[in-house]
């Protein structure tokens, strides 16, 4: 392989992996406090639609990003309210969020173009790739890792922060305690419900960013069903990462890599029909899930947070 080919594959890998990683990190933080949010796909869809609509009309990708963050947090708040306060089934609540978000995003897509027309095919502000001085001169790694857009760079900073916060700070310890042993956390004086609200909303905001990166960075535009199952793949990646932010990087790169291979094969004029190429990420997700579940079973490692998906009510013993 030539250096140019490796670089071009790496660039797409990282670009495609960026939104996946934001979504995965959001879901990791959510699940770590014991809330299962299956609404990632819907939140990302709304994030993508909001980011594009707001940036198109305001002329600033940054304001669009802000809109996506707010919408992501707001949708996650609905889920937090239903699962914490109303003790609803979290699986169904997440599915409701996905149906709602997909519908509303599609609605917005058809109405929020100029003068109430469609947003499909419009060009708006975007986050363009900008090489970082010095760093981008490193052979191979430079032009692939340090010639990206600002949201990818943001991830380079956010990732160690999120890891450090989760494992090395007191609020991080509380966060994990709430997801593992809410009763004990409560006895320690950690406000269980409030903590769950906070990180579910925070996780939703990251999912909103993931959507924004699709419509402003990676795909640069709005299309119906723009997320194409990425939200669900992110949930699979949480399992793959065993709820660890750093391991999530490997998963996001793997799936980003699959996207890159798809692109390369299409560009090279492969005879494999497009639908089969497009199946690759989904088949790969199933294969990865099977391997990781099987491996976890034989190594008897602790997987999910112990209280994941269970509503917390102090007066009822679990």
């Amino acid at each position: 392989m030539t250096e140019a080919l490796i670089v071009s594959i790496l660039i797409i890998t990282i670009r495609a992996g960026t939104s996946l990683l934001y979504a995965t990190l959001g879901e990791i933080y959510t699940e770590r406090v014991g809330i299962l949010n299956l609404g990632v796909e819907g939140i990302m869809m709304m994030g993508a639609a909001t980011a594009f609509a707001v940036s198109y009309h305001s002329g600033s990708a940054w304001i669009g990003l802000l809109g996506a963050v707010l919408v992501g947090g707001l949708l996650a708040l609905i889920h937090a309210f239903l699962s914490n306060t109303m003790r609803a089934d979290q699986v169904v609540s997440g599915l409701a969020l996905t149906i709602f978000g997909t519908g509303l995003a599609s609605f917005m897509g058809q109405r929020l173009g100029p003068g109430g027309t469609t947003m499909v095919g419009l060009q708006g502000p975007k986050f363009v790739r900008t090489p970082l001085p010095l760093l981008s001169d490193i052979p191979i790694l430079g032009p692939s890792f340090f010639n990206q857009d600002v949201l990818t760079y943001g991830l380079y900073l956010l990732l160690p922060l999120l890891w450090f916060f989760l494992y090395r700070t007191q609020p991080g310890l509380h966060l994990r305690a709430v997801g593992e042993k809410p009763l004990a956390a409560d006895a320690m004086g950690v406000p269980v419900i409030r903590t769950r609200y906070i990180y579910t909303i925070f996780g939703g905001m990251l999912m909103g960013v993931a959507g924004a990166h699709l419509s402003l960075g990676y795909l640069q535009g709005w299309a119906d069903n723009i997320t194409g199952g990425r939200g669900w793949i992110a949930i699979a990646l949480v399992i793959f990462a065993t709820w660890d932010p750093l391991r999530a990087v490997i998963g996001a790169m793997l799936f980003g890599g699959i996207n890159a291979i798809q692109f390369r094969m299409q560009a090279a004029g492969t005879t494999i029909p497009a639908p089969f190429l497009n199946m690759m990420p989904y088949i790969f997700t199933i294969v990865v899930l099977v391997i990781i579940t099987w491996w976890e079973a034989i190594s008897k490692r602790l997987g999910a947070p112990a209280a994941l998906g269970l509503p917390y009510a102090r007066e009822e013993k679990h």
Partner: protein, 362 residues
């Protein structure tokens, strides 16, 4: 004063009926806020939706047409949900049923006696859906792989498979580039009863009876319900959970496959892109609103179909995106979920000195 939820001794039947109805009304109010935000008059939109889906014989038959796949997939997921197996894959199982039925119609009908074509399509359609549902079931039963994710991924794969077939090898050679297969021969088309309402409506009623019988009148159904309520207890009483997962998913996938067969044979009369429009996802709302009761699934399925037809109507009449129907569906589910707590709990206002009675009750 403090608001607490106290667990009821038994589920409130009154609340179980009232919650979906009140949820629907609240969802309409919530939806009207969204419509207003987009500059659409909600009263006008709802009027068009109601008249367009229920207001004439034509409207009613069109609603029934959409209700058929919703009823069948609603039954499909509700039997799986009853044992807390989250089959989110009805959409893909429906697609596979459609593919198998199309295969019979296009390639086997010549060599089959005419009267056997439809039964073969039903059989193979159900079989294809069942096999598609069996794959996640096997992975769950033997390895423990999360079924929510596998059933969902299988949807994407099945939909792409449909796309491959109607764009590729099964594309109509005389179709002037129309993306779809050739139309079915007459013997492969489900007879219509009134309007576009086809025999699939009878399939749905029979299916509801079978699901009701299995769940309420058979030992198998008893096992399914025990697993759904308490998996650990089920294991202690010697119920084979793995075997039940496989059997339930065969039935669940088979019903969704039947929905796909009925769609291609009764409505489109060919395989094309419009086969997978999200019935398998709406089915989740149908099942949940119906409280997983098979007879209620028929009723709620009809009702959700009215919402979908109404959505199409406002797209035509008011140029308002049909996705409004999806938004309303999601909102209804939000309110049902939020309201369900009143079925199992009651609200009490407590003075600080008064102890909560929940411990003794639960």
């Amino acid at each position: 004063m403090n608001i607490v939820f106290e667990k009821r001794l038994s589920r409130s039947r009154r609340a179980a009926v009232l919650v979906p109805i009140i949820s629907f009304i609240l969802a309409l109010l919530f939806g009207s806020l969204i419509l207003l935000a987009f500059g659409v008059n909600p009263l006008e939109a709802y009027r068009v939706m109601a008249v367009g889906s229920l207001g004439s014989q034509y409207a009613l038959t069109e609603t029934l047409v959409k209700a058929i796949p919703l009823m069948l997939t609603g039954l499909s997921v509700s039997i799986a949900f009853r044992m807390l197996f989250w089959n989110i894959g009805a959409e893909g199982q429906l697609a596979m049923g459609g593919i198998a039925a199309t295969y019979v119609a296009l390639f086997l009908s010549d060599s089959l006696p005419g009267a056997l074509t439809i039964p073969t399509m039903v059989l193979l359609g159900m079989l294809a859906g069942a096999i598609w549902g069996l794959i996640p079931a096997l992975l769950k039963a033997f390895i423990g792989v999360n079924e929510i994710l596998t059933t969902l991924m299988m949807n994407y794969i099945a939909i792409l498979m449909v796309e491959y077939l109607y764009l590729g090898p099964w594309r109509d050679p005389d179709g002037y580039g129309f993306p779809g297969t050739a139309p079915f021969p007459p013997e492969a088309i489900l007879p219509r009863l009134v309007g576009r309402v086809h025999l699939g409506i009878i399939f749905a009623i029979i299916a509801a009876f079978i699901v009701w019988f299995v769940l309420s009148r058979s030992r198998w159904g008893y096992e399914i319900r025990v697993i759904g309520e308490n998996q650990r207890a089920a294991r202690y009483t010697g119920i084979n959970i793995g075997k039940n997962i496989l059997l339930v998913m065969l039935l669940s996938g088979g019903l969704a496959g039947l929905a796909g067969m009925a769609e291609v044979s009764g409505i489109a009369r060919r395989l094309y892109q419009g086969l997978t429009v999200g019935y398998g996802y709406t089915a989740i709302i149908v099942a949940w609103m119906a409280n997983l009761n098979p007879w209620a699934v028929l009723f709620v399925g009809f009702f959700m179909a009215a919402l979908l037809v109404g959505g199409d109507q406002i797209q035509i009449a008011l140029q308002t995106p049909a996705a409004v129907a999806l938004v309303l569906q999601g909102a209804i589910l939000f309110f049902v979920l939020g309201g369900w707590i009143f079925v199992n709990y009651r609200i009490r206002l407590l003075r600080p000195s008064e102890p909560a009675a929940a411990d003794e009750l639960s």
